[in-house]
């Protein structure tokens, strides 16, 4: 596979390490009343989409950025690649 890195351009996926769903950015608040349930869903339950999936790849042998890659799990077509940091910030993650 080739991942079109937003800063570096197309790179062979061999430079990357795959983690999983981009939902892993959405780490729940530990002080919520529903924290046990929230963390269970966060850690264990997956949409496992057959279609466009937003997922986390780490450019380990590159610039060491985490990326959010939108990739179709039926065709492997990649439609979007974003820096995870920016996605995280958009999702409201701060400190």
């Amino acid at each position: 596979m080739i991942i079109n890195h937003p800063l570096l351009g197309p790179r062979d996926s061999e430079e990357f390490v795959y983690l999983g769903s981009a939902e892993l950015i959405n780490r729940p608040d530990w002080q919520n009343e529903t924290a046990p349930e929230d963390f269970h869903n966060y850690q264990y339950i997956r949409e496992n989409i057959a279609g466009e999936n937003r997922e986390l790849w780490y450019h380990e042998q590159g610039d060491q950025s985490w990326l959010v890659v939108t990739r179709n799990t039926l065709t492997h077509e990649i439609s979007k690649v974003e820096l995870a940091t920016e996605v995280a910030k958009k999702m409201g993650r701060t400190k």
């Binding site: 570096l8 061999e14 430079e15 042998q61 610039d63």
Partner: protein, 189 residues
């Protein structure tokens, strides 16, 4: 005064090889310092670099040189820039921070990497066997720099001149990458 003096040793003993028209040599007596730029301070740092050295922060995958040509910056990451310069003391970190910008964080990486120069008209033929980056002269122009993986070893490749490349690997991998380069040359000659 300590009774014990210690001496430095290059990773590959300063090895130099010539294979017909391809040359391989360990690059020694240089320093590397990683400059980390806090997000909020990038503009200020850029200004200081420019004021101090007429040096700009290169765009991703590219390098830039100071006015005196002595400091080269490699932009391998968004918030980090590697400074490469001919200086051979063990205080590279403070040396370069004074020259560049005091607002960044500096980390000496001189010993973290070993550097190998491979050059000659057919150098790219050998690199074609291990390097997954497109080295086409129109694509990877002189001054380009990339971090990738060669023979399962994380490697930085910098094109320092026409038909000349510098490879950097974590120092412990020196022998493995040297072997990979030599095999590549042998296989393509």
């Amino acid at each position: 005064m300590s009774n014990y003096n210690i001496t430095k040793k290059p990773a590959l003993g300063g090895i130099k090889h010539e294979f017909n028209d391809v040359f391989v040599a360990e690059v020694t007596d240089h320093s590397l310092v990683m400059m980390a730029m806090p997000q909020k301070k990038i503009d200020e740092i850029a200004k200081e670099l420019n004021d101090n050295q007429e040096l700009s922060i290169p765009s991703m995958g590219k390098s830039s040189k100071s006015k005196d040509n002595l400091i080269t910056l490699w932009r391998l990451q968004k918030n980090q820039v590697m400074a490469y310069f001919p200086y051979e003391n063990h205080d590279a970190e403070s040396y370069i921070s004074k020259k560049l910008s005091t607002k960044a964080y500096y980390t000496d990486q001189s010993d973290a990497f070993s550097m190998i120069n491979i050059s000659g008209k057919n150098a790219y033929l050998a690199l074609e066997r291990i390097c997954p980056i497109d080295l086409d002269t129109n694509v990877f122009v002189v001054g380009s720099v990339a971090r990738t993986i060669m023979e399962h070893i994380g490697t930085i490749i910098y094109k320092n001149d026409t038909d000349s490349f510098i490879l950097l690997v974590m120092r412990s991998f020196s022998k493995s990458i040297m072997h990979a380069i030599e095999v590549s040359i042998k296989n393509t000659q």
